[in-house]
Symmetry: C2
Subunit: 225 residues, 2 copies
DNA sequence: ACCTGAACACCGTTCAAGT
DNA sequence: ACCTGAACACCGTTCAAGT
């Protein structure tokens, strides 16, 4: 009988899919998605890149898995709240998750295979509308309109440098300086007289649009049939 | 005096930035953004990849230039229409452009430098709100809410296989078959009793949400101050 | 069953050299 | 002024070989 093999991973847990996904998410959070390579991920896990293929079938599968894991971070709409409150809370949570993982939004388009976390999440959102008195057709409308807004907002928020904070303000000031007022009068006005005024933060725009959509959906539901 | 040099590009026009951008857009349209490499683009233009660096400073600059060129394809809001009609038309146009160039939406987040086409476009949209009686603060709200919806919708549309058409229906049927009704009752219901019914097309959801947002903005403007 | 080393067919970008 | 060839430091993925 041979002696037990020595641990080859130097005290670290054995590699598995969850650990691969978790580490990949951390790497993307830190360095952006363009820094996430199979080789770099292997290095981080103390393993050759090729070993990863025992746990994900290829890079696309890795990315799909990462996205599905993130859906698990989103707060599911609660059965205890009315539909509007429940859907509002989960929308705020979607945005928070996308702020924590800015690389994720762009990947969702190309995520070919929806995983169980994704399906579960969508099912609960749909159920919230249905139980809130929305017809099937109106549920489809609501789901599309709401998520278009929420994911679209997260996309804009990532692109714009209008967060509050000093570097953001400095950046916006540089932008303004490069903006000829004669050519772009309305952009110039908005920037100088509103966006760059103390107290403005693009982050605050989120709830305006969210409530606009939710109120619109409620009205549409009530005036149906 | 030496004789005139022979044409080295075999009768083709000399390389310039516009031709580089144009060809890059065509390549991305045909093969997706992941097929667009400096080497492949050079090949298409009958030139070594390294020659491209005489016309774009690097790949990021190339991508920024492509995005800015696309803004030129979007129909600007007309001064002859009332604000709602004008903004509605240009929103429909944004979506059409993103359908023609599905790779573009994902790139807009990371487009670091807004070019003149982009700025011009935004300026005109802002001007349309301002001249339509929106305050500066309400214009900021409107711009954010509307574009979040429009770009977000284009993003969803790209990801979903619910276009009308036979292959799309086949794909959706496969999805449905993999969806346990006990685990995902609401997804199952929506798919089987609505989305897969004849006549449904996800494309039609666009105008529902668009009008919801536009009506909401009008209401917000009217109830202001 | 899981991990590795070498190899293949790619990338973006630099730099010195050509015309 | 513009284009090229060679080189550098990377990619994702395969395959046969190791334990």
């Amino acid at each position: 009988m041979p002696a037990r093999k020595i641990q080859r991973t130097e005290g670290r847990t054995r590699l598995n899919r969850d650990r691969v996904l978790e580490t990949a998410i951390s790497l993307a959070d830190e360095g952006g998605i363009e820094k996430l390579s199979m080789r770099r991920l292997g290095e981080e896990l103390g393993v050759e890149a090729m070993s990863l293929y025992n746990h994900v079938s290829n890079k696309e599968d890795l990315l799909n898995g990462m996205i599905d894991a993130l859906y698990g971070e989103i707060e599911l709409p609660s059965h205890d709240d009315d539909w509007k409150t429940a859907v509002r809370k989960r929308s705020v949570s979607v945005r928070a998750v996308l702020l924590r993982h800015p690389w994720a939004n762009g990947l969702m388009d190309s995520a070919t295979q929806a995983g169980p976390g994704t399906l579960r999440h969508h099912d609960r959102v749909l159920g919230t509308f249905r139980n809130g008195g929305f017809s099937l057709a109106m549920t489809a409308h609501a789901f599309s309109a709401l998520d278009s807004y929420v994911y679209g907002y997260a996309k804009q928020e990532k692109a714009l440098p209008f967060d509050s904070g000093e570097e953001a303000a400095a950046m916006a000031n540089v932008m303004l300086a490069q903006l000829p007022p004669s050519e772009y009068p309305y952009l110039h006005e908005l920037m100088s007289k509103h966006v760059l005024q103390p107290g403005y933060s693009y982050a605050d725009e989120f709830t305006f649009g969210l409530d606009l959509v939710l109120d619109g959906l409620e009205r549409a539901r009530d005036s149906e049939g």
